[in-house]
Symmetry: C2
Subunit: 342 residues, 2 copies
Amino acid sequence: MATIFDVARRADVSVATVSRVINHPGKVTEKTRQKVNTAMEACGYVYNALAMGLSTKRSRTIGIVIPNIINPIFSESTRGIQDYASEKGYHVILVNTDYLYEKEKRLVNLLREKQVEGLVLTTNKPGGEVVHGLIKDEFPFVLIYSHPKHPGVAFVGVDNIQGGFRATELLISLKHRRIGMIALDFSLSDRSYQRWLGYRRSLKKNGLPYDPGLVVQTEYAFEKGEKAVELLMGLPHPPTAIFCSNDILALGAMKGFKEIGKRIPEEISIVGFDDIAFSKFVAPPLTSIHQPAYEMGWKATEILFELLSKIPVQASRHRILLDTELAVRQSCAPFFKKKVKN
Amino acid sequence: MATIFDVARRADVSVATVSRVINHPGKVTEKTRQKVNTAMEACGYVYNALAMGLSTKRSRTIGIVIPNIINPIFSESTRGIQDYASEKGYHVILVNTDYLYEKEKRLVNLLREKQVEGLVLTTNKPGGEVVHGLIKDEFPFVLIYSHPKHPGVAFVGVDNIQGGFRATELLISLKHRRIGMIALDFSLSDRSYQRWLGYRRSLKKNGLPYDPGLVVQTEYAFEKGEKAVELLMGLPHPPTAIFCSNDILALGAMKGFKEIGKRIPEEISIVGFDDIAFSKFVAPPLTSIHQPAYEMGWKATEILFELLSKIPVQASRHRILLDTELAVRQSCAPFFKKKVKN
DNA sequence: CTCCTATATGAAAACGTTTACATCTTATAG
DNA sequence: CTATAAGATGTAAACGTTTTCATATAGGAG
C-alpha cells in the first residue's frame, strides 16, 4: 500500500506537504497541490485513518451500544445516531448486548480499546458499574432509553414510568379491572421495570389491587409474548386487558390470542410500548406508547458532540425528556362484564 | 491516558514484555505476568487498538454497507454479520447508502481509509465502479443480495429472478390476468430489477402480455407504496393483483388499498418480497418471498474470513445461492371476473 | 537593489503498539 | 563446575500519520 511517503517522493515534496494538501489545501500553492494530487492518483494512494487517529488521538469514530439491532426501536435510533455522526464526518461502531450485562461490560471495554471518542449507550443497568467506570474515567457518553441514576450524566429518552402509567390509565378508563402485564424481565431491562412502576402507579391511583400473578416477566422475542399468553389465560381469573412492555411482545401476544381464538379487542385489549412502524399495520392496528426513536438517537449524538467539543454545556442541556404519545388504534375496547349463562 | 510505557515503567519491565503479557501470556513467567497485570490495574491502562492496527496492519474491523438499517431485511443480515465477526474478535463499522450510488462510493472509500480488513457489501450496482475498484485493488469483500456481474466475486444471496418468477406464478395460478408490480426504482436497486425480470418471465411463459403501465417504480418507503396504489387504481384497466419488490412497499400498498376501501384479498391480491418478520402479523398476513437474511449475513462473513485468511478457497465456495421460499399467507385469493351490471 | 514580511515548504519528533533480533538467566547435561 | 541450550526479557525499528519549528522563497516597499 502506498503511503504518504511514496506520494511525497513521487511528487518531489515532503510528507508534511502531502499531509497539508489532504488537511489544509489552502495552505499549499495551486501548483504543488496539483503535483501531489496527480501523484496520489498515480500510486493509488488511500489515506490511513488509523495512523491519523494515533497521531491526533481522535479516531473520528463513536460507539453505539444497544440490546439488539433487529428491534426496530433500536434500529431507528441507530439510524438517528449514524445520520448525525456522519454529518460530522464520524463513523460508528455498533454492538449488540442482547440484554446481557456481562456482554455490555465486555463490549464497552472493547469499544474503548478501539479508541471511540464517545459512546451512545443503551444500558440495562443505568446504576451499574459500566456507567460508573465511564464516569470515573470522564469518558464522554450519553445514555438513551434508560435514565441515569447518577447526576450529571447526559441523557435522552422518554419517561417510562409515565408511559406505563398512561397505557394502564387507558385500559382502566375502558373499564378493565383485571389488567395483566407482559414485561421484559426486570433483571434484563431497567426500562421494563420503569414501565411496570407506571403500571402499578396507575393501578394504585384507581384503587385497583396489584396482583403479581398477572405480570409475567420474559425474554425478548415474539414467541415469548405468545407463551406468556398461555400462562396468563391459564389463570383462574385471567386478565381482560394486557399491557406489554414492548411492541414485539405485544405482537407475539396478539398472535397467541388469535391462536386460542380470542378476538382482539372484543375479548381482550392490548397495548404495547415503542410504537414501532409496523404496529400500524398489524391486525388490529396496535395501540401503543410512541417513542420518538430516531429523534432520540439524533439528539443524543448532538449532545455527545457537545461533550466532545469540551465547550462547557450547562447540565440542563444534558437531560432531554421527549414526550411519549399514546397512539390509539384498534387493539383496545371497553370491557363489558360477560353474561354468565347457566 | 496510560500507555504500555507507563505500565512497563511501573512494573519495571520493558514494553515488549508488557505487549507479551497482553498477546502471548504463555511467553512470560507467572511472576512478571502478575507484576504487569497489577501495574495495568494501577494505572488504569486501556489498550490502544488503533496503535495495534497500525503496527500489525490488521484493524480487526470489517465494514458493512447496506441501503438502510431500518429495513428489517438488512438489520437481520447485519446481525448475522456481527455475530460471526464478533465470534472472531472483530468489530463492525456500519454505513447506510439509502440506495444512493454516490453515497455508496463515498462510504466504501471512507471505510477503506478506516482500514477495515474487508467488506460485506450490498451494492445497488453490482457491475459498477465500486465493485470494479475493489477487484482491481484485490480488496477482500463479499457481496450480499445483489449478484456479482464479475467472475470470481464472492457472493451470498438468493435468486431474485426466480423469486420474482415464483411470486408472479402464484398470482397467475390464482387466475389473475392483470398483474401489477410496485418496484423499487431499477436505477436504485439491481435486485428490484431482477425481480421484475422474473415477473416478466412468468408473464411471458403464461402467454400474458406485458403492460409497462402496470409497473410503477418508486422509492423505498411505506408511503411510496401507498402512493403507487393510487396511480395503479387510477388506470382504465387496473390490476387485480400486485407483486411488490419488497415488503415495505407491500405493507404501504396494503394500507393504500384499505384506505380506498378495497378488500384484501377478495378484491385485490398482494405478494411481497423479503418476508420480514412483521409480515406475519399484518392484516391480512402477507404472502411473501422469504429470504434467509440472518443466514446470508452469517455465511457472507464466514466467506469473508476465509478470504482474509488467504487460504486459497475454491471459487465454488464463493458463490452461495440460498433458497427463497414462497411463504403463502392470506393476502392472495383467486380472481373471479366481476359481474358487470348496467 | 536591499530589506522585510508573508507565505510555502521541509525536517523530525511524536502517537502507542508489535516484533525481529540481541542479550541475559536459568536449568540441565556432562 | 562448566558448557550449552532453552527460555525470559530487553532494545530499537517500524507502522503512517500530524504538527511544531525552522528554513527557504517570493513579493513589495523603500
